[in-house]
Every structure is written in structure tokens, then in C-alpha cells.
């Protein structure tokens, strides 16, 4: 039977070999043809981190077994998570991706997040709306935007990227820190105002001496997640205007299912978007935002939900005001209604828009045109729908050409 030292040696060797295989995979991928430099840069950063991680496997003589095992587990987790990221980076080189979006999205991201922000556009073999992988620890300056593979060429859902960019912005702006204290205080206030709920939660959870603090902590954790999600929705709305709501509706309507306390209910999210659109003068279709289901909450989570929702409700107006003020200060422009109409008119003539328009304006015009045509899903409209996609992509290319020419001049 192997002794403990032999087991440690085996586990450390396995972890080293796992990292070596991962590094070999990176080296293979690096020979791919990348349409933009950001993919290659991401591989370089990940490689460097894993080389560093390999060095951490050089344990001193007599190191605690718990440290060896935990480090090996850490390596296994990192290899597992970043294998998915390598797949994402590989798929970002696929010609099915809408590379036409890269310039416009990158500009938007640099504007809203910072000039060092980097972008990877890829597809996911999951029908998820741009939810993976949010902020990646090794790539904090990267925004990774993945659309479901069957939709990888669908420009109309690109506005959902606004939500994903929002997660990067939340982190870059340091908002978790900014809102921590106010969330903690608001939770304490809400619980103090509803002593019966606090009592019920303590009884339900059968918590020990510091139970009240654990209740506060859990409520605070959910509340700050809710705030981040709302922040990302508002961010997407500001960047993409009404097209954000249409894209959201395309993938997620009519909502419902089981309630996750880290998110406001679907119906409430739409209320928040409708109220925000009104504040910044974005015209939206009320019927689209009102016909959403209320997600159901498990009985045991209802008391927590009532506190968490109340906390988020109290903070959202200030957060919304601060976000819109920040984006305005960064000169991030809202879609202009007149330009949207002009782009839509061009589409109706079967032409791409020949002047400069923002990504949000082009996609908003696309949605308005599609809706005017009744959704373009009839058998005899398939070609027309395809043409609309081409018109949007061509208009995006024209805008890029005009902008590049202007900056060259």
C-alpha cells in the first residue's frame, strides 16, 4: 500500500501533467488564425497564469497534506474552468461569427469601460443569452460575448451583449465595494422594520448565537446580486435603447419559472426597464414590457425574498441615476430617434444605410422594421428576413468605414 508521501507525490505529479497538457493545448490554439489580436492576447495571459500555478506545485519538504490536496484541487478546478474558456477562444475564430460587429462593439466597450478593454465574440453550444462566462478572474479586462450557436449570425440579439458588458463595468467601476455598506445598512433597516420576518427566518433556519447576523448577511448577498443584475439591464438599455428590450423579449419572454433571489422577478425587471426608458426618453412598446410572468418563489424563500426585494427597490433609483450620469459623462450616446427612422427607411427601400449610425441605431431600426413586417417568420418571408440581416451587417460595415476614414483624415 502506498504511504502518504507517495500519494502526495502522485497527486502533485498528476497536477503537473494536467497543467502541461493544458499548456500544450494553448500552444496548439495559438497557431490558429485569429481575426483580432484580443484572442491571442487572452491565450498569452492564461498561459502565463498556468505557468505560475505550476510553480506553486513545488511544495516544501513535509508540507501539510491538506495544503497539497487543496492545491491539487485548485489546479483541477482551474483547468476545468479554463478548458471551457479555451473552447470559447477557439470558437471565436469561426467564420460563422459576425465579425462585422467587432469594431462597433469594441468601440462601445472602450468608451464605457476603458481604452484597455478587450473583446472576444464567440458562440456557445447552449441556448443561453450571453450569460457565460461573465467576468473571468484571469482576464479581468476582457469582455467575452457568446451567443447561442444557432443564433451566432443574428445581429438582432446583439443588444443582449449590453448586459454582459454591464457585468464587466460593474466590476471595473468597483460597484460591489461602493454598494456593500449601503446594502448592509438597508438590510438592517428593513429587518428592523419587519421584526416578525426576522423572527420567522431565525426560527426557520434554526440558527445559533449569531443567527441574526447570518440572516442579514444572506439577505445582503442576494440584494447585491440583484443590484448587479439590474445595473446590467440598465446598462444594456442605455447602450442599445429599445432594441435591448426586443432582444431580451426574443430570448426570454414571457419569463416566469422558479424565482432566483439573486434576480428581481422577471416582471419586475421589465418594470424597472420601462421606468428607466421613460427617464432617459427611450420610446418603448408598453405591451411588450408588461406581458411578463411573475416568477414563483418557493415557500421557504418568501420571507427572505420580501426583504431582499425591498432592499433592492430602495437602492435602484439612486443606482440608476448614478449609472446614467456616469455614462453621460463618458459621452456614451443614446440612440437617436431620427437616425433610427432614417435607417429604417433605408431598410424599407432594401438598402443599407449609407451614412453614419451607431450599432444601437442600426439594430433598433432592424427591430422596428421586423415588427412592422409582422415578425418576418412566414414561409414566404424567409428571404426577406435574411436580407434584413444582411442590410444591418452592411450598414454596420458602412458606419465602420466612415468612422475609420474620418479618423484617418
Amino acid at each position: 500500500m502506498a504511504n502518504h508521501n507517495e500519494v502526495s507525490l502522485l497527486r502533485l505529479s498528476s497536477a503537473r501533467r494536467r497543467i502541461d497538457a493544458f499548456l500544450d493545448q494553448i500552444d496548439d490554439l495559438a497557431t490558429s488564425s485569429f481575426p483580432h489580436n484580443d484572442g491571442k492576447k487572452a491565450l498569452e495571459i492564461i498561459r502565463l497564469q498556468f505557468v505560475g500555478m505550476r510553480g506553486r506545485l513545488d511544495m516544501p519538504v513535509g508540507a501539510a497534506e491538506a495544503l497539497i490536496d487543496q492545491t491539487c484541487l485548485h489546479v483541477a478546478d482551474q483547468v476545468s474552468d479554463y478548458t471551457e474558456v479555451l473552447g470559447f477562444i477557439l470558437r471565436s475564430t469561426n467564420v460563422r461569427n459576425p465579425f462585422e460587429l467587432h469594431f462597433a462593439l469594441k468601440k462601445l466597450i472602450e468608451h464605457a469601460i476603458g481604452p484597455d478593454a478587450k473583446l472576444l465574440i464567440s458562440s456557445e453550444w447552449a441556448f443561453l443569452p450571453f450569460t457565460y462566462p461573465m467576468s473571468i478572474e484571469m482576464l479581468p479586462d476582457f469582455v467575452l460575448i457568446g451567443s447561442p450557436a444557432p443564433e451566432s449570425g443574428n445581429v438582432l440579439i446583439a443588444p443582449l451583449a449590453g448586459h454582459e458588458i454591464g457585468h464587466s463595468a460593474w466590476r471595473r467601476y468597483g460597484l460591489f465595494n461602493e454598494y456593500s455598506a449601503i446594502v448592509a445598512q438597508t438590510v438592517a433597516d428593513e429587518l428592523a422594520a419587519h421584526p416578525k420576518i426576522e423572527e420567522a427566518l431565525l426560527h426557520q433556519e434554526q440558527l445559533e448565537a449569531l443567527g441574526a447576523r447570518i440572516i442579514r448577511d444572506r439577505c445582503g448577498k442576494h440584494a447585491i446580486h440583484q443590484l448587479e443584475e439590474v445595473f446590467c439591464d440598465l446598462f444594456g438599455l442605455y447602450l442599445f435603447g429599445a432594441s435591448y428590450i426586443f432582444a431580451y423579449d426574443y430570448l426570454l419572454a414571457p419569463g416566469g419559472y422558479d424565482r432566483n433571489l439573486g434576480y428581481p422577478s422577471d416582471a419586475r425587471r421589465m418594470d424597472i426597464l420601462r421606468e428607466a426608458a421613460l427617464k432617459i426618453g427611450i420610446k418603448i412598446d408598453d405591451t411588450v414590457t408588461r406581458r411578463w410572468n411573475v416568477a414563483s418563489c418557493r415557500a421557504e424563500a418568501r420571507n427572505t425574498a420580501s426583504i431582499v426585494d425591498a432592499v433592492a427597490e430602495r437602492i435602484v433609483p439612486t443606482m440608476r441615476y448614478d449609472l446614467f450620469a456616469r455614462l453621460s459623462k463618458l459621452h456614451v450616446l443614446l440612440p437617436d430617434d431620427k437616425t433610427v427612422s432614417a435607417v429604417q427607411s433605408a431598410f424599407e427601400r432594401g438598402e443599407p444605410y449609407a451614412k453614419s449610425a451607431s450599432l444601437a441605431e442600426i439594430i433598433s431600426a432592424g427591430w422596428l422594421y421586423l415588427r412592422k413586417k409582422g415578425g418576418m417568420a412566414a414561409d414566404n418571408q424567409r428571404e426577406q428576413y435574411k436580407v434584413l440581416g444582411d442590410l444591418m451587417l452592411k450598414s454596420i460595415e458602412v458606419a465602420e468605414y466612415l468612422e475609420r476614414s474620418a479618423s484617418d483624415a
Binding site: 506553486r56 511544495m59 516544501p60 519538504v61 513535509g62 508540507a63 501539510a64 491538506a66 495544503l67 487543496q70 492545491t71 485548485h74 483541477a76 478546478d77 482551474q78 476545468s80 474552468d81 471551457e84 469601460i113 476603458g114 481604452p115 484597455d116 462566462p133 461573465m134 467576468s135 473571468i136 478572474e137 479581468p140 457585468h167 460593474w170 466590476r171 471595473r172 467601476y173 468597483g174 460591489f176 465595494n177 461602493e178 456593500s180 446594502v183 448592509a184 438590510v187 445559533e208 448565537a209 449569531l210 447576523r213 447570518i214 442579514r216 448577511d217 444572506r218 439577505c219 445582503g220 448577498k221 440584494a223 447585491i224 446580486h225 448587479e228
Partner: protein, 151 residues
């Protein structure tokens, strides 16, 4: 570009990772090998910025939402019982930070070194919690939960 200090980019994952690095450096120190003090210093700072309970009546807390419960579990793991008061819990965190500072600054080894190593390993476990080992097969979510990466 707007950036806040180190605190803005701290996540549970980052703190957990610093804790694991610190455990390694402490073990290197214990074995009489050359060791780096930067992870110990950074971990102490990270805990001060995110996990410091109020010390005394007038103290200011930096405890982030979602941080108390895993740290309270860590207390119970190390003490084999739940803290009987918040002061006890505060002392526990304060003492760990002070010991990290001490090793980082003086490069002297406190008697409690094995306990400090254990604190760091358990902190990594708590802050980078993952699905059960069985969940690795038929994996349906990230090994490291997204929550740990963003807050």
C-alpha cells in the same frame, strides 16, 4: 478609465487564491526555505478591505455582504464550536490579520503557524466553494461558482 484601488477588483476567488498562496509560503517558511511575503501582506490587506468586522463600539466595518457566513463557518471549523458572541468572532478575524501582518513584516514565525496555515487553507475552501466532487462527473456548471468570481 475609472478604477478604484485593489479593493474594487477583489473577489472571493481572488482572496481565496491569495489564501492558498499564503499557506504555501507559510509552509515554505516553516521548512526553512526561502519564501515570499507579498501574498501574506496582500491577504491581510484583502481581509482588512472586505472582511473586517467592527472592532469595539466605534469601529468601522468593511464586511461585505455574503462574507460573514463563510467566515463564521471558518471560525467553527477552527474552534470546533460556534462563536458565542460577535466580539469573539471579530477577535478571531483580527488575530488572523495581525498574524499575517507579523509574518509578512518581521519574517518571524509565530507559535500559531500551523493554525495560521490551516486558517488559510480553510479560507480558500470557504471562498472558492464548488459543487460536490460527484458533480464533476456530468458537470453542468463552472467548477468555481460565478458568484465567487464577481463578489
Amino acid at each position: 478609465m475609472e478604477t478604484d484601488g485593489m479593493g474594487a477588483r477583489l473577489s472571493k476567488f481572488k482572496i481565496g487564491d491569495l489564501a492558498l498562496q499564503s499557506a504555501l509560503e507559510l509552509e515554505r517558511a516553516r521548512a526553512g526555505e526561502k519564501y515570499a511575503t507579498a501574498p501574506l501582506h496582500d491577504l491581510a490587506d484583502a481581509l482588512r478591505q472586505t472582511s473586517m468586522p467592527p472592532l469595539g463600539n466605534a469601529g468601522v466595518s468593511s464586511m461585505r455582504p455574503g462574507y460573514f457566513e463563510p467566515l463564521e463557518r471558518l471560525y467553527r471549523l477552527q474552534s470546533s464550536e460556534a462563536p458565542s458572541s460577535f466580539d469573539e468572532f471579530s477577535d478571531f478575524i483580527g488575530r488572523a490579520i495581525a498574524e499575517l501582518d507579523e509574518v509578512a513584516a518581521d519574517q518571524t514565525m509565530p507559535h500559531s503557524l500551523p493554525r495560521l496555515v490551516n486558517f488559510c487553507i480553510e479560507l480558500h475552501r470557504e471562498f472558492v466553494r464548488r459543487p460536490t466532487a460527484e458533480g464533476r462527473f456530468g458537470k453542468s456548471q463552472r467548477s468555481v461558482p460565478v458568484e465567487a468570481l464577481v463578489c
